[in-house]
């Protein structure tokens, strides 16, 4: 149990942010508005290197101040240590054992390929180390890849806020997907069989 590594699986590892190098790599990825949308809550737009650097600096301060209601990991490829994206567990309410997840892969060669493996690490950390009871992720109604990813990992569609997102000249629903610890455990048992 304790020996099982939390911060790596077959191909990926979870890393701390590298303030000097990571923002330089991430900035071009934010031209993909879907990546920018996951990055922060502001209206999605391309972000400059210095903005991303500032974001991570503030995030590190927040991580220290809030006694852990925010957990950020950069996702790296074990093979060559390349940056692929990030996962964040945010807005943790310890009394209720709940939190929100954000996950995005920006490296073009691994987009649409490695998300499920990154999600596996995020869920394992949320349930086995943070002891959360449930985890929620919000998804834009047009993001079919994310819908498939989360449904495939055992999340259920819980909330559909109608016409809450605007993109490409039309409104879309804002979806909340949730997974309970017991559902994740049940699934892990089935996969192990």
């Amino acid at each position: 149990m304790l020996q099982r590594p939390l911060f790596e699986n077959a191909r990926l590892r979870l890393a701390a942010v590298d303030l000097k190098n990571d923002p330089v790599i991430e900035s071009p990825w934010t031209y993909d508005l879907n990546y920018a949308r996951h990055f922060n809550a502001s209206p999605a737009r391309p972000l400059a290197v210095f903005e991303i650097e500032k974001f991570y600096k503030e995030l590190q301060d927040k991580q220290r101040e809030n006694a852990g209601s925010l957990f950020n990991f950069m996702i790296r490829l074990k093979e060559d240590d390349r940056l692929l994206g990030f996962i964040r567990i945010m807005e943790v309410q310890w009394v209720h054992g709940v939190g929100w997840l954000a996950l995005a892969i920006g490296e073009p060669a691994y987009k649409g390929i490695i998300e499920a493996e990154a999600l596996e690490l995020a869920l394992n950390y949320a349930f086995e180390e943070l002891n959360l009871f449930r985890l929620t992720v919000d998804v834009a109604g047009y993001d079919m890849a994310a819908i498939q990813l989360y449904e495939g990992a055992g999340f259920s569609l819980e909330v559909r806020q109608r016409e809450m997102i605007y993109r490409d000249n039309r409104f879309w629903d804002h979806l909340h997907y949730g997974i309970l610890r017991e559902e994740w455990q049940q699934r892990a048992l089935e996969v192990a069989k």
């Binding site: 209720h96 819980e158 806020q161 109608r162 809450m164 949730g178 309970l180």
Partner: protein
């Protein structure tokens, strides 16, 4: 031309008073049942001093009104639209009737209708969202009466009194609001 969007038949919405309201909301915070209906964070007894600072922040960030009764001029609660996103035209509703003598008598319902009218007709909102803990049945009933639709359930999100409770998400679109509240 005078437009009074803020007065109904039972209540009117008034701007907060930094001198008197902080003591009032601090007094309401001693009612743990009220506070547990109002918020998901662990409830605390609040001081007038801290409430004064909080009230200033609330007014800066939200459209924040106190609810006053028309016949006795009592301030009985607060109602707000926060997290306003003008891009998509969404805001989040918050309401609490701190004076429990006025629970279940339509005061909160009318205050909600008044602020929604302001949101849709003045702020040009397209939708208003809220969430509510499932044990707050009185509130859910009032929201449904106003025209809010259940948009989903965050299962077992709240742990209180040794039980897990759902959080219900509700929303109302402008056309749903207009259908129930045609312009004069």
């Amino acid at each position: 031309m005078t437009i009074d969007t803020f007065t109904g038949k039972l209540v009117r919405l008034i701007v907060p008073d930094l001198e008197t309201d902080p003591q009032r909301t601090a007094d309401w915070s001693r009612d743990s049942e009220y506070m547990r209906l109002y918020d998901t964070d662990p409830v605390k007894v609040l001081s007038a001093q801290s409430e004064k600072e909080e009230l200033e922040k609330r007014v800066a960030r939200n459209l924040w009104f106190m609810i006053q009764t028309l016949n006795t001029q009592q301030v009985i609660g607060e109602v707000s639209l926060g997290g306003i996103d003008h891009r998509v035209g969404n805001a989040w509703l918050g309401i609490g009737i701190g004076n429990r003598d006025f629970w279940g008598k339509g005061y909160g319902t009318e205050a909600t209708r008044l602020i929604l009218g302001f949101g849709f007709r003045e702020l040009n909102l397209r939708r208003v969202s809220l969430n509510v803990i499932a044990y707050n049945e009185r509130a859910i009933h009032a929201y449904e009466k106003i025209g809010f639709v259940v948009e989903g359930t965050s299962r077992k999100s709240i742990l209180r009194c040794g039980r897990r409770w759902d959080v219900i998400y509700m929303g109302i679109l402008r056309e749903e609001w207009e259908a129930r509240n045609p312009p004069d």
